[in-house]
């Protein structure tokens, strides 16, 4: 069935602007059966409110009201419970397709969203030190002929770099006439910046005309749309989904619950849409840093350090929470206020991605996170 580009675009538009997660996506194609999705939680997601260390003696006291949601939450093991707004993720955990890694952080240790996201996306050790993103550098390690596309009006930092990445985003503007498009093509011919941009835009226009049709209104539609583009023969194999709304300075219980419900629905839709490809899929969910251990005075939490990362998908060796747990007693906190990071997020990502794509671990780590100090890769994250 030929589906109209606009329907695809409209689905994304709603996801971008109406979904509580404010999701945007970016894609990259690679000649592999393995699928990789990086889902970034912009705004510093509260790891302690997502995978809660309910077995830590200091937890209930530090969290106050924020701990109330976990009275009915599914227990993951003797220490941790999963937020009850995520039944699908609980199911993945049961099926050993979800691995939660706690007390993780990127090398960034200050508390600016913008710098923290830059470090998370570039793979550097400090903000603006690297000029391209680790996902773009990953593309260079994969077999040649790879192409990347951003499902956002612009390419997110993690995908920017030497490998060409097209962008594609929701719009409800009418299609421009083919005649005008052809004339614009000619007019941009000699422009070094606009010519390649425009080539990508036209190539994407051709490609996506055959793909999507979902008229979507919620986060689930973003997941379905991502699945569609990742399933197409010869289509994208690498995707980035951007979500926002995690900066819960106030009223965290309601807001975080809504966010997690959307995230849960998005992952469920991605799994459903991928069908058999789910078995070859790795989804990494990560945020720039965590939030304070103690609730603040406005029913929320402020910028912190350690948080939780998730590995989801049929390719994941899940069903466990991996944590070198630092504890939540006052003496155990980072700078007296934050969850102390004990696992490096860059090591986690490099280890998971290299085994997922059967790349040499050391070489992958060096390419993705050039300044990574930890030598040992983490084992057993992904089924190979």
């Amino acid at each position: 069935m030929m589906l109209h580009r606009r329907q695809l675009l409209a689905a994304g538009a709603t996801a971008l602007l109406v979904s509580p997660l404010g999701a945007r996506m970016a894609f990259a194609a690679a000649p592999t059966e393995r699928r990789f999705v990086f889902l970034i939680q912009r705004g510093a997601a509260d790891g302690l409110g997502i995978v809660a260390p309910v077995g830590d003696p200091a937890y209930a006291g530090a969290r106050g009201d924020l701990a109330a949601d976990f009275a009915t939450a599914p227990k993951l093991d003797g220490m941790f419970a999963l937020h009850p707004a995520m039944p699908n993720l609980a199911g993945l955990y049961q099926a050993k397709q979800a691995l939660f890694v706690h007390a993780v952080a990127s090398p960034y240790r200050d508390r600016s969203h913008f710098d923290g996201q830059n470090v998370l996306e570039t793979g550097g050790v400090s903000a603006y030190q690297l000029k391209d993103g680790w996902m773009n550098r990953l593309l260079r390690l994969l077999p040649s002929g790879d192409k990347a596309i951003a499902l956002a009006a612009t390419v997110p930092m993690a995908l920017r770099g030497a490998v060409e990445v097209a962008s594609y985003a929701p719009s409800s503007l009418p299609d421009a006439s083919d005649d005008l498009l052809a004339r614009v093509t000619a007019m941009y011919e000699g422009d070094r910046q606009l010519h390649p941009l425009w080539q990508e835009a036209m190539a994407t226009r051709m490609l996506t005309g055959d793909l999507g049709s979902d008229g979507g209104k919620k986060a689930a539609d973003t997941g379905t749309l991502a699945a569609k583009l990742l399933s197409a023969p010869g289509g994208a194999r690498i995707a980035m989904i951007e979500t926002g709304g995690w900066d819960t300075h106030s009223g965290q219980r309601g807001r975080l619950g809504g966010q997690l419900k959307g995230l849960d629905a998005m992952v469920a839709a991605l799994k459903a849409g991928l069908g058999p490809h789910w078995d070859n899929t790795l989804v990494v969910v990560a945020t720039e840093f965590g939030r304070t251990v103690k609730a603040n005075g406005t029913g929320g939490t402020d910028h912190g350090t350690g948080s939780v990362a998730m590995l989801l998908g049929g390719a994941v060796q899940g069903g466990r929470v991996q944590a070198d747990w630092p504890g939540l007693s006052d003496a155990a906190l980072y700078e007296g206020r934050d969850l102390k990071p004990t696992t490096a997020l860059d090591v986690l990502i490099a280890s998971a991605v290299s085994s997922h794509f059967a790349l040499a671990p050391a070489r992958t780590a060096k390419a993705l996170f050039p300044a990574m100090t930890t030598a040992a890769a983490m084992e057993g994250l992904v089924r190979v």
Partner: protein, 498 residues
């Protein structure tokens, strides 16, 4: 001449047909500093933030009352409780869509939502008209620059209606004044106090917290919120990584407790804190203020009450790091994404010398050769591109939702950057394949409205004196119609950049 092209497009908001910036381009820009109007005719009739906050507070009260008195299902809806007319800002009356048996609280919610959309559309349209009609487009560009520097984001409900008033009240009056005055106006404005949670930040040892703490059966979320304090340091003044620490942020947040908005507290709390008065006005609530001396940036701040944070703000307003931060952003806006260090140093020195006199900074920009580099140095943001396109075709009037809708589709919804950092000011943020495709889609509609009344060859020559490229001129000349020629002109490489 090519320099006039730069004055019109890089410093201004794009040429308008019939504009006659005769004489020297630098003189033309300098004259605009005096010609700038803080409250142009396009903005008359825009409601003040005090009226908007009163309306919002009244809405919240009414909604709470209606929800308390929820009628049994299927009962016919009672009429909405009447509101005193004086408390309502002028707005377009839109009857809500009412279904039989609809819950009155739901009806009120819908009505308020529709009023909010109308207010937002009205404010965005006023902003666009001011930019399109202004005889001082350089001044209007600076309004947009500062509003983005001090960004609030209307996707937070309390801020949706206030974002326009914030720009009109806190930014516009100070664009030709001092940075210090703009900083104070911004940090005391209800939109900023609500956007970054300052209005609800309570000192842990303040009289209010102590009083509430003495009543263990009262459960309230009372305490410190460091959101605004952090962003003042990181975004508004010093800039990120300039040496302040987490302790400085927390101490500054303590100093700022008590800075809040009248009309938001509920009954007894508002009375106790003293946060009464005309809704929307800045108020210092001593009962929320953390008592004691603060240590911030290595200095002791001993003043009590409101004066404590004010003294810190005074210090930040003229701090050398602030000078450097603002100089860098201005240089990036006018001389390119990687601004020349010499230009930054010159602007910085000027800021330090004058203590933050903004027109002096603008005159320094005009006089700096780095800002007159030939060719184009910036890729226009969707807002810049839209305004320049409407100026180019001589737009006089706007449908109420035309500009809000266009900017939403182009990926830069007005006053909704989603983050207190505002929109990025580098090409990487806007020069994407899909972003360019959307401009091409939008332009066909804009061009069709010109109904072949514009000769695009003559217009392009007027808009880009001596700088039109042969490729663009040829594409326009070969267009199948005047409208198509206008469309090509508006997405030509020289039109996408400045």
């Amino acid at each position: 001449m090519a320099e006039m092209s730069i004055a019109l497009n890089r410093f201004g908001l794009g040429a308008r047909p019939g504009d006659d910036p005769d004489g020297d381009p630098r003189d033309w820009l300098n004259r605009q500093l005096a010609r700038y109007v803080a409250a142009p005719p396009a903005m008359s009739g825009q409601p003040a933030s005090t009226a908007l906050v009163a309306q919002f507070a009244a809405y919240r009260e009414d909604l709470a009352k209606l929800r308390k008195a929820t009628p049994p299902p299927m009962q016919a809806s009672p009429a909405l409780p009447p509101r005193p007319a004086a408390a309502m800002p002028p707005m377009i009356e839109q009857p809500p869509i009412v279904q039989v048996g609809e819950d009155p609280a739901e009806r009120l919610r819908k009505q308020f939502g529709q009023q909010s959309r109308d207010l937002y559309n009205g404010a965005v349209t006023a902003r666009a008209l001011a930019a399109i009609q202004s005889p001082a487009p350089f001044g209007e560009r600076l309004v947009h620059f500062w509003a983005n520097h001090f960004a609030v984001s209307g996707d937070k409900m309390e801020v949706t209606n206030l974002a326009g008033a914030f720009e009109f009240e806190a930014i516009r009056p100070h664009v030709m004044g001092s940075f210090r005055d703009m900083l104070f106006a911004v940090e005391r404005h209800p939109a900023m106090l609500l956007f970054l949670d300052q209005a609800v930040s309570v000192g842990p040892n303040s009289p209010l917290a102590v009083r509430v703490g003495n009543r263990p059966n009262v459960r309230r979320n009372l305490g410190l919120n460091e959101n605004l304090a952090r962003e003042i340091l990181e975004l508004h003044t010093l800039g990120v990584r300039t040496g302040y620490t987490q302790t400085d942020v927390t101490e500054f947040a303590r100093a700022m407790t008590g800075w809040t908005v009248a009309g938001f507290g509920r009954g007894p709390v508002a009375k106790f804190t003293g946060a009464t008065g005309r809704p929307g006005d800045f108020v210092f609530a001593d009962a929320m203020h953390e008592p004691g001396t603060r240590t911030i940036l290595g200095k002791q701040w001993t003043l009590p009450g409101e004066a404590q944070a004010a003294a810190v703000l005074e210090y930040l307003a003229t701090h050398p790091a602030t000078a450097r931060h603002l100089a860098t952003k201005l240089a990036r806006h006018f001389a390119g994404d990687d601004p020349p260090p010499k230009l930054i140093a010159r602007l910085e020195a000027n800021f330090v010398k004058t203590g933050g006199d903004l027109p002096s900074l603008y005159r320094t920009l005009i006089a700096s050769p780095e800002c007159w580099a030939p060719g184009t140095v910036k890729f226009k943001s969707p807002w810049e591109w839209s305004i320049s396109a409407m100026r180019a075709v001589g737009t006089q009037q706007l449908q109420p939702n035309a500009v809000p809708g266009l900017l939403y589709q182009l990926g830069q919804p007005v006053w909704k950057p989603g983050s207190p950092a505002g929109w990025d000011d580098v090409a990487g943020a806007w020069a994407g394949p899909d972003a360019v495709l959307r401009r091409v889609e939008a332009v066909e509609r804009i061009a069709q409205r010109t109904r072949d009344q514009i000769d695009p060859r003559a217009r392009a020559a007027e808009l880009f004196p001596d700088t039109l490229s042969p490729a663009t001129a040829q594409a326009i000349a070969r267009a199948e119609s005047n409208s198509q020629g206008v469309a090509l002109m508006l997405v030509a490489p020289e039109f996408l950049r400045r």
